[in-house]
């Protein structure tokens, strides 16, 4: 049973085609990795699904609901939550108010609200940062805060755009465990990640985006073996550096800004 | 850092409040003493909230100087004679920054803080409206010098008086003059503010009832910077005369653009502009022959005890301020003079008595003419002169015999000048 269906999706910015005829669907409860070199269109794709931008052509279905033309906040309320590659947190609110606002907006009230906020903050290991203003959080805290905030939406589908970049190895392990736990709760996830170790260990399936087109779609092992993928993307870098990409790799410039 | 900043702010607020309240309370005691006669120290104080800055600073200055000239002369002559005793006058000015709300609050400040009970108005009708409201609430007289809007006097106020005729009467003399010169068709252009609308409507009604053909009439937004298209349109109708009712800069604009567009008229007249010295300076020879509705000129054959003749007024004014007076200053001096007359007549500076005296002035003659103070505080009967710019100077060309000074009507076309 598919929870998300993308049909023939294309996106132009001015004269530039960023996404070309993308089609795929996500099964409920699955974890799918989305990889591709910088500028391949990954963040644009997530942005289109999340309603941050409208596709030039093609359709997006969430369950049976067509998402085209819906404002982002409506899509979020349907249970489709996302994080941003370049973190976007509410810098004038404290960490817990960030989470609380998201939970409150999505129907949590009173005692339940406080319990849920506390649970999410504990889950993302941010308990010692409550009361800190958003603008004063470190980048890795901001990344986790985005995740907590997204989870406050009680999502059916999570779009995670590089939530692990910048984490140290032990943080990384715990983050992977957290994703596994979320998966056990039945949340479907589309994960954009540069760290191949993460993608390989948590994904049921991997999509590869290259220059705006989907060039491969299959189980992780198959993808790693695919010569087309190696050539387009992995060949140059993964092979050279089997441990994964350097965490300090500069984040790609977000398309369309 | 934050703490000290906050502390400083509160200290600052506290200090300012104290300063204000202390000055307010301090003088309110003197106000108590002086309320009866307003003349404790042998001086009668008169308040004037008037623009020194902002968009009305120009006219505000003229009014300021008009008031000041009267004050200086009266004091030179020993002061006002109140029941045989001489009192100096002291006009207390406050800058309302051309803002009507400030006009009101400064009137209040002058009333309460400075204990002042007699007032001369700020310039411009909106400012007069709000300042007179405060005066009326406190039942103290205010004489308006700078706005002739009829609606100022139709509110049923008992403490508002004026030295200005209604705005709607400004153009009567101009049209009378044009009639004698065989002008038949007229185009009207006016700004959208209160004064200009009333003056224009009065003028158009007068024109129609006196056999003129009004071929064009339009209202433009105040401060417009382009009227070429209106002039192009007017040129199609070939009117004999153009009458503009607006502000100084718009009068200048209309002359400049008439010439640029080569739109010729037998006569051009404005309500505001030609009477001011800067009109001739600004336009040079293009201002020659242009007519201006005026309320006063130095040539008028009127006189009184304080200023002497109108000509003498001009001389005194020039000595004091270095420039020729225009009617704004003269009418302000006249307003101040009315106040002085009323105080002497009442034999007191008590606001109620002065108010009653003002209401009962009846028909009086001052250096600006003979007029009657009406029951609603406005005046009637003033014979309005018309001026013409000749060699950059305003020359009186109306009423009566002055018409022999009239030159160049019909005006030569722009390319023959």
């Amino acid at each position: 049973m598919s929870i998300l269906q993308i049909k023939n999706l294309s996106k132009d910015f001015g004269g530039l085609r960023v996404l070309e005829n993308i089609s795929f669907s996500l099964d409920e409860g699955s974890v799918v990795g989305l990889i591709g070199p910088n500028g391949a269109g990954k963040s644009t794709l997530v942005n289109l699904i999340g309603g941050g931008d409208q596709p030039t052509r093609g359709e997006i279905y969430f369950g049976s609901r067509r998402l085209n033309g819906l404002p982002a906040w409506r899509i979020a309320r349907l249970g489709l939550a996302r994080t941003f590659q370049i973190t976007r947190i509410f810098s004038d609110l404290t960490l817990d108010d960030n989470v609380r606002l998201a939970a409150w907006t999505n129907g949590w009230r009173g005692k339940n609200l406080e319990t849920e906020v506390a649970r999410l903050i504990a889950l993302t290991e941010l308990s010692d940062k409550t009361g800190v203003l958003g603008r004063d959080l470190t980048l890795s805290d901001q990344k986790r805060l985005q995740l907590a905030r997204a989870l406050a939406l009680k999502p059916k589908l999570l779009l995670l755009d590089e939530v692990m970049a910048g984490l140290n190895p032990s943080e990384l392990d715990r983050a992977i465990q957290l994703l596994a736990k979320l998966r056990n709760e039945g949340i479907t996830m589309l994960v954009i990640e540069h760290l191949m170790r993460v993608i390989m260990s948590i994904s049921d399936r991997v999509l590869v985006l290259h220059q705006g087109t989907l060039i491969a779609d299959g189980p992780p092992a198959e993808i790693v073996a695919s010569s087309q993928v190696q050539e387009a993307y992995l060949g140059r870098r993964y092979v050279k550096n089997r441990g994964g990409f350097q965490p300090d790799e500069p984040s790609e410039v977000k398309e369309g800004t | 850092m934050r703490k000290s900043k906050k502390g400083m702010a509160w200290f600052f607020v506290l200090a300012m409040s104290l300063a204000l309240i202390l000055s307010g309370c301090g003088s309110s005691t003197t106000a108590g003493q002086t309320a009866a006669g307003n003349s404790a120290a042998g001086t009668i104080k008169i308040g004037a909230p008037d623009a020194a800055t902002g968009s009305l600073a120009n006219e505000g200055k003229l009014v300021h100087d008009g008031y000041t000239l009267w004050q200086n002369l009266v004091n030179q002559q020993g002061g006002l004679n109140v029941n045989g005793k001489k009192y100096k006058v002291d006009i207390v000015f406050k800058d309302d920054q051309s803002n009507p709300t400030n006009s009101a609050s400064l009137t209040e400040q002058l009333y309460t803080q400075d204990g002042i009970r007699l007032f001369l108005s700020p310039y411009a009708s909106p400012n007069i409206f709000s300042a007179t409201t405060v005066a009326e609430r406190h039942k103290v007289p205010m004489i308006a010098a700078g706005g002739g809007a009829k609606s100022i006097f139709t509110r049923g106020y008992k403490y508002v008086f004026s030295s200005y005729p209604y705005s709607g009467e400004y153009l009567g003399s101009v049209l009378d003059l044009l009639k004698t010169k065989g002008i038949k068709s007229v185009a009207f252009l006016h700004a959208d503010d209160l004064f200009s609308q009333e003056a224009d409507q009065g003028g158009e009604a007068y024109a129609k009832s006196h056999g003129f053909d009004v071929v064009y009439s339009a209202q433009y937004p105040s401060n417009t910077t382009d009227l070429t298209s209106q002039l192009t349109q007017i040129a199609q109708k070939k009117p004999d005369a153009l009458i503009g009712t607006g502000h100084f800069q718009e009068a200048v604009l209309l002359v400049k653009e008439s010439k640029q567009m080569n739109v010729n008229f037998k006569a051009i007249a404005f309500t505001v502009g030609p009477s001011m010295p800067s009109f001739g300076q600004t336009l040079g020879k293009d201002s020659e022959g242009i007519l201006g509705a005026s309320l006063w000129t130095p040539d008028l054959p009127y006189k009184d005890d304080i200023f002497g003749t109108a000509k003498n007024y001009a001389k005194l004014y020039k000595e004091a301020f270095g420039v020729e007076p225009d009617y704004h200053s003269a009418m302000a001096s006249a307003a101040a003079e009315m106040m002085g007359m009323a105080i002497e007549k009442a034999g007191s500076a008590d606001p109620q008595k002065v108010r009653d005296a003002l209401a009962n002035l009846g028909t009086i003659s001052l250096f600006d003419g003979t007029f009657t103070v009406e029951a609603n505080g406005s005046i009637s009967g003033l014979k309005l002169p018309v001026i013409q710019v000749q060699n950059g100077q305003a020359v009186t060309v109306w009423p009566g015999d002055f018409s022999k000074n009239l030159k160049d009507i019909p005006l030569p076309p722009w390319n023959k000048r």
């Binding site: 906040w73 509410f90 609110l93 | 020194a52 800058d95 909106p126 709000s130 209160l194």
Partner: protein, 313 residues
């Protein structure tokens, strides 16, 4: 902390309520003006300070309140109170409906759209005789200075209360979230359009309320005066000096600017405007966060990939 605030609020209320007993009409007049600007600044603070939309046209609602109340009461002979209520409601609805398209604009573009809104409204008023045209509307002289002081003071207190309730609610956090990052706010399910337009409408309601009272207090409505862009600028200056986004900031700002203006006018005939201008420059250079505003923290102020302009449009 809470108690201290309560005591402080009580003290301010007490002083303001008792002020007329201790002083004279002039102080009451100044107090009325300060209360008026405090309410206007608090209204501006809702959209400008808390939501982060730099409105340059809030005077539109002040003007509309005054013009409509005047028009209804003079032309249709409505009781002024009724005319005022209807005027306030219309201005609120106007704010909400115009907010829908205008609040899609950001930064300077929003500023200019609101400035244009004020100018366009003035232009319409000038051309509609029912609304007073260019001549304005005269109202009967009723009430006493004391009554207007208490009414203006009541509106100022109401706007402070509204601000307090908003700031301490999830709705206030919603607006702060929109100020921080609108796309992120949408991503957690916030209907930003509705939230912003509501804030704009509240701002409009407060502005119009002040306008209604101002009109009858002054007893004459001059259209260019009640749509004067400088009034919006004063709201902005007062809020920023006091501290944008705070409850007490706009009030403190109104008190400081109000007192400063009066003192400048009282002590200097020609230079009062100059002093005000220099004062503004000094505040901008040395007090950029306002008196009660949060200090900009050193950490996290510059993040990679982000402009150093916090509100770049």
């Amino acid at each position: 902390m809470k108690n201290r605030h309560l005591v402080f609020t009580g003290l301010v209320l007490l002083i303001a309520l008792l002020l007329p007993l201790l002083t004279n009409d002039y102080i009451i007049q100044v107090g009325t003006e300060i209360a008026m600007y405090a309410a206007l600044a608090a209204g501006w603070n809702l959209i400008g300070g808390i939501t982060g939309y730099p409105s340059f046209g809030n005077v539109t609602f002040f003007g509309l309140g005054a013009i409509l109340a005047g028009a209804f009461s003079v032309n249709w002979h409505w009781q002024y109170g009724l005319a005022g209520i209807v005027a306030v409601l219309i201005a609120g609805a106007f704010g909400f409906l115009l907010g829908l398209p205008i609040l899609r604009l950001k930064g300077h573009y929003f500023s200019i759209a609101t400035l244009a809104l004020a100018q366009a409204t003035l232009a319409v008023v000038t051309n509609v005789q029912f609304l007073g045209g260019g001549r304005g509307t005269s109202l009967p002289l009723i009430g006493s200075p004391l009554i207007f002081y208490y009414i203006m003071f009541g509106i100022a207190a109401l706007s402070a209360l509204v601000t307090y309730l908003i700031v301490h609610s999830q709705y206030g956090n919603t607006l702060l979230a929109i100020k921080s990052d609108e796309q992120a706010a949408q991503s957690v399910g916030i209907n930003t359009v509705l939230a912003k337009s509501t804030a704009f409408a509240l701002s409009a309601l407060l502005g119009a309320m002040v306008g209604v009272v101002y009109a009858i207090w002054q007893s004459y409505i001059d259209p260019p005066t009640v749509f004067e862009p400088g009034i919006t600028v004063l709201m902005l200056v007062m809020t920023l000096i006091g501290g944008a986004g705070t409850v007490a900031g706009p009030i403190l700002g109104a008190v400081i600017i109000g007192l400063l203006t009066q003192l400048a006018m009282a002590f200097s005939q020609n230079a009062s405007s100059l002093i005000l201008g220099l004062g503004i420059i000094v505040v901008v250079l040395f007090l950029p966060q306002g008196i009660l505003g949060r200090q900009r923290s050193g950490k996290g102020g510059k993040r990679k990939g982000k402009h150093s302009f916090s509100l770049r449009g």
